[in-house]
C-alpha cells in the first residue's frame, strides 16, 4: 500500500500533471459549469511567460502531463502553440491534453493537435435533447449540430479521443440513450460525471438507478460482442474490487499528482480550488510550497466520521477532495449525493462484472486483468479490425 504521507512523495514522485487554466473566458454559457468562468466576458488570460515558468518547473520530473483547461482553452490557440513550442526545449517527456467544448476545433487546430499529440477530451452531453439543456452559446442557441460535426472530424483524426458527459438531474432520463449515442458516434472512451453540485432529489436518484441498470445491459452486450470501450462509472467501480480497494486510495492524491495553475500563475491542488486562497500551494515564481502541499495532503487523508465504519469505504470515491470542496466547502466533507451515488453504482457494477466473469468473456478478462491489454489492443487496431469497427460507427 502506498503510504499517504508527504515524505513518500519526495522520493518516488517523478511524474505530475499541471492543469493550465489558460483563461477564465468561455464561449459557452453552461449553467452547471465547474470552471471559474463567472466573468464570462473579460476574464483573465494566462501570459505566455507564466506558462513557460510552469514548463521550466517540469525538468525535475521524468514525465509531465500538461492539460489545457479553461474556460475554453481554444480561445487561447496562440498561447497553446507557444507552449508546445517552448516545451520542445525542455528535457522532459510531456503528455498534452485538452478539454474543449469543440466550437473552435477547426481543421487547422485539429491537425495541430494530431501532429503534436495533444489528446482531446470533447464535452458533449449525449443526444441533442440532453446536450441542448445546458450547453448553449452566448446567445442561448444550441451548439449540438456544430459539436457533433466536430466530434466526427475529431474521431476520424484521433480515434482514441475522450468524450465527457456531465450528468445533471434533468439529463438523467437521457443517460443510457446518450451513452449509446456517443458510442455510435465512435467514441470509445466515455467519461461520465455527475454534477454533484446540482440539486438532486430522490426521484432523480430513482431515475438514475434505472438508467444505470439499462447501461449495465448495454455494457454487457457490448462486451460480449467484444467491443472495446471504457465507460468510467462502471470501470472505476469494477477496478476498485479488482485492485483490492487500492485504486480508490490512490486516486485522489490531493495536491501531489495534479496541480492546477490559475491564469495569474498561482498554484492550487485541483481545478475546484483555483482562486481559493486557503488552498494556495505556491506560484510559478516560487514553485510548489512543499510544506503547504504536505499539510494539504495529510488533511485530505482524514476520513469523515460516518465513512470510518462503512463497508464500502475502500471502494468509494468519498476521498476526492475536489468533489468534497465543491459540494460541502470542506475537503473531507461528504455530500449526500456522493454517498448515495457510490452506493447505487457499486452493486450494479459488481453484478455486471460477475456476469461477464461467469460467462468467461475474453474481452472482459483481458481488459480488466491483463496489464498488457492496452498495448495488445493497439496492435490489433494497427493491423485492422477495430479501426474498421470505429469507422463503421462514425458512418452510421
Amino acid at each position: 500500500m502506498a503510504q499517504r504521507t508527504g515524505d513518500h512523495m519526495s522520493e518516488e514522485f517523478k511524474s505530475i500533471c499541471f492543469t493550465l487554466h489558460l483563461t477564465d473566458r468561455c464561449n459557452l454559457r453552461c449553467e452547471y459549469c465547474n470552471s471559474h468562468c463567472a466573468d464570462q466576458g473579460g476574464g483573465e488570460v494566462m501570459a505566455s511567460e507564466t506558462a513557460f515558468k510552469v514548463l521550466d518547473m517540469c525538468s525535475e520530473y521524468d514525465s509531465v502531463g500538461i492539460v489545457f483547461f479553461g474556460g475554453e482553452p481554444l480561445l487561447c490557440k496562440d498561447l497553446i502553440r507557444d507552449i508546445i513550442e517552448y516545451a520542445k526545449g525542455i528535457d522532459c517527456i510531456f503528455h498534452f491534453k485538452m478539454t474543449t467544448n469543440g466550437l473552435l476545433l477547426d481543421a487547422e487546430t485539429l491537425d495541430f493537435c494530431k501532429n503534436n499529440k495533444i489528446m482531446v477530451s470533447l464535452s458533449l452531453d449525449g443526444v441533442q435533447q440532453a446536450h441542448d439543456l445546458h450547453r448553449k452559446d452566448v446567445l442561448g442557441n444550441s451548439t449540438y449540430p456544430v459539436v457533433v460535426e466536430t466530434a466526427k472530424r475529431l474521431l476520424k483524426a484521433m480515434p482514441y479521443s475522450f468524450v465527457m458527459l456531465t450528468l445533471n438531474p434533468d439529463i438523467v432520463p437521457f443517460y443510457a440513450e446518450s451513452v449509446k449515442h456517443l458510442f455510435d458516434l465512435g467514441f470509445r472512451y466515455l467519461i461520465c460525471t455527475l454534477n454533484y453540485q446540482a440539486d438532486w432529489k430522490e426521484r432523480d436518484l430513482k431515475s438514475l438507478k434505472a438508467e444505470y441498470q439499462k447501461l449495465a445491459k448495454i455494457y454487457l452486450n457490448w462486451t460480449l460482442a467484444e467491443e472495446k470501450f471504457y465507460f468510467s462509472p462502471f470501470e472505476v467501480k469494477i477496478m476498485s474490487h479488482i485492485m483490492g480497494g487500492e485504486s480508490c486510495k490512490e486516486r485522489c492524491q490531493l495536491g501531489l499528482r495534479q496541480i492546477s495553475v490559475s491564469p495569474s500563475g498561482r498554484l492550487y491542488p485541483c481545478i475546484q480550488f483555483v482562486n481559493m486562497d486557503d488552498f494556495l500551494m505556491g506560484n510559478v515564481d516560487t514553485g510548489i510550497d512543499q510544506e503547504a502541499q504536505s499539510k494539504l495532503f495529510e488533511r485530505s487523508a482524514e476520513n469523515a466520521e460516518i465513512c470510518i465504519d462503512c463497508a464500502i469505504r475502500q471502494r468509494c470515491n468519498h476521498n476526492c477532495g475536489c468533489i468534497n470542496i465543491a459540494t460541502t466547502g470542506d475537503i473531507n466533507g461528504i455530500a449526500p449525493i456522493v454517498c448515495r451515488h457510490e452506493q447505487m453504482v457499486l452493486p450494479i457494477a459488481d453484478r455486471l462484472a460477475e456476469k461477464l466473469y461467469k460467462k468467461r468473456s475474453g474481452m472482459f478478462i483481458q481488459k480488466q486483468y491483463n496489464e498488457m491489454y492496452p498495448l495488445i489492443s493497439l496492435v490489433e487496431d494497427a493491423v485492422g479490425g477495430e479501426k474498421d469497427e470505429i469507422e463503421k460507427g462514425r458512418n452510421n
Binding site: 485492485m243 483490492g244 470510518i308 459488481d350 460477475e354 475474453g362 478478462i365 486483468y369 490489433e380 493491423v383
Partner: protein, 258 residues
C-alpha cells in the same frame, strides 16, 4: 437526502488482480477475434511474457534489476475483506472470563466458536483443520483493552513485520483463516498489565486492521488466501460467525480459489 453508511456488502464474485497473478490461466481466455489473428496472438504471447517478468522485477542494493524466482512471484497472500456480521464490541466492568464470550443465557467459548467455523466451512465444501500455520511479513496491530481502538488504519500503530500463526488451514493447505478473538486481542495489547476493572475491546476492528494493513504484504509458500473472521460480539455469536464463514467462502468462490 442524508449520509448513510453501508453496514454489509455482498462479496463480489469476480477475482481480484492478485488472484489472477497467482493463477494466470484466466488470462488465456481471449476474445474470439484475437484467437484467429496471428499478429495479435504473437503480441499476446510476447507481451504477456514480458509482463510476467517485468512486473515482478526486484531491485538489489545496487539498483540493478534481478528477476525473482518463480516462487517469489506467487507467494503473496490474497487477504479477503472482513465481512461484518456482529459489531465485535465488548465492554465489561468486571471481566473475569478470559477467552469466553457470553450471551443472555448462554456461554459460547472460543473453542465452541472454532467448532462452528469448522462445521460451517465443511457444509459449504471447505474442510478446515485447527492447526497453527505460519505466514510471514505480517504487522500485528497494537490493541488497547481499556479503550476503543479507532477503526482508522492511519490512527493505529502496528508492530514490525514478523511471522504470524493462522488458526485454521484447509485440507489442501492453500486457504487459511484467522479467527480474531479476545485472546488474540489481549496478546496484541500495548501493555502487559491490564486494568481488569473496565475492559473495552473490539476484535472486528483488529481484524479490519489486519485486512487493511497488517496482512497486505503477508507471504507464504503454500497459503494462497486468508480469511479474517472475528468474535462477533455479545449477541447471536454462533449465527453471526456462520454468516462470516459463508461470506468468506462465497468470496473464495468468486476468486476462483475453491
Amino acid at each position: 437526502m442524508k449520509l448513510k453508511k453501508v453496514e454489509i456488502i455482498r462479496a463480489p464474485r469476480f477475482p481480484t488482480q492478485n488472484a489472477v497473478l497467482r493463477d494466470r490461466s484466466l488470462l488465456s481466455v481471449l476474445p474470439k477475434r484475437w484467437q484467429t489473428n496471428n499478429v495479435v496472438l504473437t503480441a499476446v504471447s510476447s507481451l504477456c511474457a514480458i509482463s510476467l517478468t517485468a512486473c515482478n522485477v526486484d531491485k538489489n542494493s545496487n539498483g540493478t534489476s534481478v528477476l525473482p524466482s518463480p516462487s517469489k512471484v506467487t507467494d503473496k497472500i490474497i487477504v479477503a475483506p472482513v465481512f461484518k456480521h456482529g459489531s465485535g464490541y465488548y465492554e465489561y466492568d468486571e471481566f473475569a472470563l478470559s477467552g469466553i464470550t457470553t450471551t443472555n443465557n448462554k456461554i459460547v467459548t472460543e473453542s465452541q466458536m472454532e467448532d462452528n467455523i469448522i462445521a460451517e466451512s465443511k457444509l459449504l465444501g471447505v474442510n478446515l483443520t485447527k492447526k497453527a500455520v505460519k505466514v510471514d511479513h505480517v504487522l500485528t496491530p497494537i490493541t488497547k483493552l481499556n479503550g476503543t481502538l479507532e477503526n482508522d488504519v492511519k490512527k493505529v500503530e502496528f508492530r514490525k513485520p514478523g511471522s504470524f500463526d493462522l488458526d485454521f488451514i484447509s485440507d489442501k493447505g492453500d486457504i487459511g483463516i484467522e479467527y480474531v478473538s479476545y485472546s488474540d486481542y489481549a496478546d496484541w495489547n500495548e501493555k502487559k498489565k491490564v486494568n481488569n476493572d473496565h475492559l473495552v475491546f473490539n476484535p472486528y476492528v483488529a481484524a479490519n486492521m489486519l485486512a487493511e494493513k497488517g496482512m497486505i504484504n503477508a507471504k507464504s509458500d503454500t497459503v494462497k488466501a486468508v480469511g479474517l473472521l472475528y468474535d462477533p460480539g455479545k449477541s447471536d455469536q454462533e449465527e453471526q460467525i456462520k454468516l462470516q464463514v459463508r461470506d468468506f467462502i462465497n468470496w473464495l468462490k468468486g476468486q476462483g480459489l475453491v
